[in-house]
Symmetry: C2
Subunit: 491 residues, 2 copies
């Protein structure tokens, strides 16, 4: 196809890296581990943001903004949180540079050393709970339902665009409640919001579940998650929602007077999704020709490419194309009419396939005569010639059909990759040959979980919500088990 | 009024600080110089963002995202830029913390020292131009019109909420062009976009102009600005747009092949507005009762407060209120029906005045009988009783009228505070007694500018666009001058 894209079969990882850069989604920057999100990639992220933001607001949340920097001492206040987050992070130690005395350039001014180092936020629980202490006095101040859109930094040694970068963009919700039950309800609600978003907008089927103790967020009593499956059989955690109990309230002394006037610590949740979702989107739907985007998140849903041999044809086609564009725009369908002379039609076909535009319309001299247009859909690459009269109707139906088809295709793949396994030998074998989720009995101990991880690199992705209880025998230890859990290798 | 708000006359600065916190706009955080933007303040910022973003996209710009960190060496590449920006900044020197050996807590891991320090971006020209080198090869890649919404950090010793904080939120546009003329046109266009936004949405009249050489952005050949006037007679720079010439292209070696195949350096602009605009909004319109918001930026345009003595009245009023709310919502007017039992009507009146909600509707038992509602407008505090039948029409007209009135009130004040001055004695006197913009002749030298600043704290805010040329005598040096410029004390 002239795209020089490595095929998925040849090298999935290489295919991904090439696709991300060639489709103009993101690239590595001059700063180790930090990416540049290019305009086309950012436009997809903006669509995801807008939809999520709407869903957060519909569930009663408001946005706010908290500081980028967190004093080092804040991290030490919540015992398990510090181990999870305060280690691999960017540390600000000075607040001034100066000209070197030897004229060699600028150097750190050692006289401008901070008394206490500042950590660039890896997540904001500590600074936010330090603030909530001032905001919460009484039950009338609860629930406090706040979200933040922000950048965060977690120092990473091995980075991959979108999937693992030192700086990434995300949203983090932080809520405070009167009761334990309300906080749990909130954490579950947000897991459901994420699942709904993933399935209805990203066309990615997800499994809702809870994490095991060792995979939990540092400081949480329960971590809810949505797990997706990529085309190479590896799982990807697409969003998490944490029930934090009273841990942060106690660490930051956040109490409220309840209706009876008694003081109590508030109950907390936090939940987040990040630009990592871009990785999930790419790896769920795209193919060897490039990106495949669900219509609901495509910055351009339709591209019109004209084919002409002379100025007269060009003008006549432009007239038709502009009419189509106006009609589609009126019906909230985004359209790019690419009538640049500087690129040939073949180049454009390649380009928009690479960029995953859901529908391509081609108009040539024959179409003018016959009052038709050629429609190709990106998901199946199928072409059809349609009468101009029906263009709106066909396009609306085709966009719906693509959205649905992508979801179903991914669902079929995912469902075909959940395998019940009853022996450790099968487990190891299937992990290498088929991949996907392996549903297996586990004795419930972190020791077994850790050994399986060490020996196979598979982790327990989740205990599915509403899991069926059934007695069985742990595939590793042979000890009794009460339920199957989902293992997989994961991003 | 029970708000305990210091009056503007008593202490303008104290009034501002109190208002920002009491109206729940922002507060200081536990991190020196960094603010927390509270949900109500952030909701206003979101409305500003949404409108600006729309205007940027309508003028052909796309959003992208560049790294938070900038390698120290990047700053040294553009000679004047380094002096302006690489000094007071947050410096990341390490990437890991560890448990102290003596068990005293966590400390910086000295073995995890960065080879090259990273600067938390104070502005992104350097990292962006380092990226543009890879994106621009030919005239076909131009113009490159990109904007970024981001947080930036400039270490400040004395901070004030919104006006001067170490971390702030902003947008920064960075564009690349084939010709000098195009880049200048872009810089001027964005100044006009800012002016249009300030006047049409924020209801703040601004003066468009250019900065003198010493007030220019570090690295710019020309800085365009919009200057607003606050109620205390001090000016506030509300936005800037820079023509950067080929400085950054040369520093980062960004060349393109023009239509003739010849290599040339590209021409650049950058432009930005920040959460500082929140300060301008507050100080332009608000009064001793609290915030006053232009309807176009108010998160809630109408609040409905019910007054009732019993459950029956409460329910009957709620029915009417909900009808009004539905009607207004349908017409894109945002409404908060505050029927909380936990607060009294008087408390609510105070609260919504403090928060600057443009229109308050009160419905009591009498109104039920007479099919009326009491409307108060926040800008004039005037009240009127209106028939329910006319509620939509009256509210639409009143919102328009408030938006217009705020602008005109501010324009009158501003116009009454541009004073022509011809002697340095008058200049100094007026600066202390009346404030505002002083239009005075200046000999054009940085030396005179600097001395006036040292002696009076007044700076040249701008040389207005389309300034009338007239010969005169510099108020300070007595040397010949070709035009008047605008001086003021400024935020």
């Amino acid at each position: 196809m002239g795209k020089n894209l490595t095929s998925r079969e040849e090298d999935y990882s290489k295919w991904y890296n090439e696709l991300v850069t060639k489709a103009d989604l993101a690239e590595n920057s001059g700063v180790r581990g930090c990416m540049v999100i290019k305009p086309y990639g950012y436009a997809i992220w903006e669509k995801m943001q807008a939809q999520l933001d709407k869903m957060f607001k519909e569930t009663g949340h408001k946005n706010a903004y908290f500081p980028l920097f967190i004093p080092k001492s804040y991290f030490s206040k919540e015992a398990s949180h510090v181990d999870g987050f305060a280690k691999e992070c960017a540390v600000v130690t000075h607040y001034r540079l100066k000209n070197a005395e030897d004229g060699s350039g600028i150097v750190v001014d050692e006289t401008a050393k901070l008394e206490e180092e500042l950590i660039v936020r890896p997540t904001s629980e500590t600074i936010i709970w330090d603030t909530y202490r001032k905001w919460i006095q009484s039950y009338r101040d609860l629930p406090l339902l706040i979200n933040q859109w922000a950048n965060v930094v977690r120092w990473e040694m091995r980075t991959r665009l979108f999937l693992r970068t030192s700086e990434f963009l995300w949203q983090e919700g932080h809520t405070a409640h009167e009761t334990k039950a309300e906080a749990i309800e909130e954490a579950e609600k947000m897991m459901n919001v994420y699942a709904n978003f993933a399935e209805s907008f990203m066309a990615i089927p997800v499994i809702k579940g809870t994490k095991t103790a060792s995979e939990r967020f540092a400081g949480a009593l329960e971590t809810y998650c949505i797990e997706a499956l990529m085309q190479d059989g590896k799982a990807l955690q697409a969003g998490t929602s944490h029930f934090l109990g009273q841990n942060f309230a106690k660490a930051f002394d956040v109490k409220f007077a309840n209706k009876e006037g008694k003081q109590d610590y508030v109950w907390a949740t936090s939940w987040g999704v990040s630009t990592r979702l871009m990785g999930a989107l790419i790896m769920t739907h795209s193919d060897d020709n490039g990106l495949v985007l669900p219509p609901k998140l495509a910055p351009e849903q339709v591209v019109i490419v004209p084919i002409y041999r002379n100025e007269e044809q060009k003008n006549a086609i432009a007239e038709v194309a502009n009419q189509i564009k106006t009609l589609l725009n009126k019906n909230n369908i985004s359209v790019n009419f690419d009538n640049r002379d500087t690129y040939k039609p073949g180049w454009k076909f390649n380009e928009y396939e690479l960029k995953g535009v859901p529908i391509r319309l081609v108009i040539g001299p024959n179409d003018l005569e016959k009052k038709t247009v050629e429609l190709s859909r990106r998901d199946t690459l199928a072409k059809q010639t349609i009468p101009l009269d029906h263009v709106l109707d066909v396009i609306q139906k085709t966009l719906d059909s693509i959205q649905k088809n992508l979801y179903e295709r991914a669902l079929n793949y995912r469902n075909n990759h959940i395998t019940l396994v009853d022996t450790y030998a099968d487990f190891k074998n299937l992990l290498e040959t088929k991949g996907g989720f392996l549903s297996a009995h586990w004795d419930g101990t972190p020791e077994t979980e850790e050994r399986i991880k060490e020996e196979t690199k598979a982790t327990i992705r989740c205990v599915p919500i509403d899991n069926t209880l059934e007695s069985g025998i742990c595939i590793y230890s042979g000890k009794p088990s009460t339920q199957r859990v989902l293992f997989a290798k994961a991003y």
